[in-house]
Amino acid sequence: MTPLATLPRNAVANPSVDIRITESSFTPGRVDVAIRVAEGEPDPWWAKAVEERLEHLAQLNNNWNSHGARQPRAEAILIGVRVIAALLGSHENWALPQIVPTWNGGLQLEWHLQPGDIEITIDPRDAVWAYLSQPNLMIDGPLTELESRVSEVLDQAAR
């Protein structure tokens, strides 16, 4: 297998999580996405579902939306996993994001929940940006600044 991109274990918020994106040695052109954990540690609760979704999106070709979109970049997939690991951690009752590709080869994580809507845009050339929409509140900014508010909404939705 040829690694297309890897994220060093120490660069992930959860230090026990690693990800490897490779070109399949079985099916030319197919991209495999594998979320891995340190030996002896259990897989994160979200790993299987996220891995399957990202692997599905990784197969998209350029112009997948018929409007000239780029295929998802490996870096965006890596950052997406990093963000999910940081946000969801061990909160097994929190909702998984809906993950969609964006026009420029990035990803968008979406939660549409009772307390509000969260969208996080991941563009490898830009800061990870969060958009929070609640009945009396619409804010956006770098995820690094809004992480606690995003976590609050995910926590409220799980109660």
Binding site: H56, L57, L60, W64, N65, S66, H67, G68, Q98, V100, P101, T102, W103, N104, Q108, E110, H112, L113, Q114, D117, E119, T121, D126, W129, Y131, S133, M138, D140
Partner: protein, 144 residues
């Protein structure tokens, strides 16, 4: 027509009536750009309404009708796509213009291209554009 009027016409063509509708081709197969809202209803993601350098590609219902085409002509031959339908008046209420752009040279040749239009977003920040994409997605009705 003076320059100012020409400029206005470039970013919003008032020959496109507010009660008309536009259709946006949205990739669905495997829920690529389709998500579920908090009630579990399938909706277009805001990611389906990102603009490129030219604007957001859509197709005008009245022109399709005049050319004896159904809206489904917009996704004919496109496997795994649905249509997002939005009224022109609600688009203008967001500060977004619409211009006719028939038969764009870089598009796959299709009969529906006669109805091709571009939504022109105002020059605003990346965040404000994303919010407009969210509003377009929330107004859109998925068909197909």
């Amino acid at each position: 027509m003076n320059d100012a009027a020409n400029q206005l016409r470039l970013t919003d063509d008032d020959s496109v009536h507010a009660d008309d509708f536009v259709y946006r081709r949205v990739k669905d197969g495997g829920n690529i750009n389709v998500v579920r809202n908090k009630d579990g209803i399938r909706i277009a993601s805001s990611a389906a309404f990102e603009d490129d350098a030219d604007g957001i590609s859509v197709f005008l219902e009245s022109t399709l009708t005049m050319a004896h085409m159904e809206p489904a002509a917009v996704i004919a031959g496109f496997d795994g796509y649905v249509l997002a339908r939005v009224q022109v008046g609600s688009i203008r209420d967001m500060g977004i213009g619409i211009v006719r752009d028939p038969n764009p040279p870089d598009a796959k040749p299709m009969p529906c291209n006669v109805a091709h239009c571009l939504l022109k977003l105002p020059a605003v920040s990346k965040g404000a554009k994303h919010r407009l994409g969210q509003r377009l997605a929330s107004q859109a009705k998925l068909i197909g």
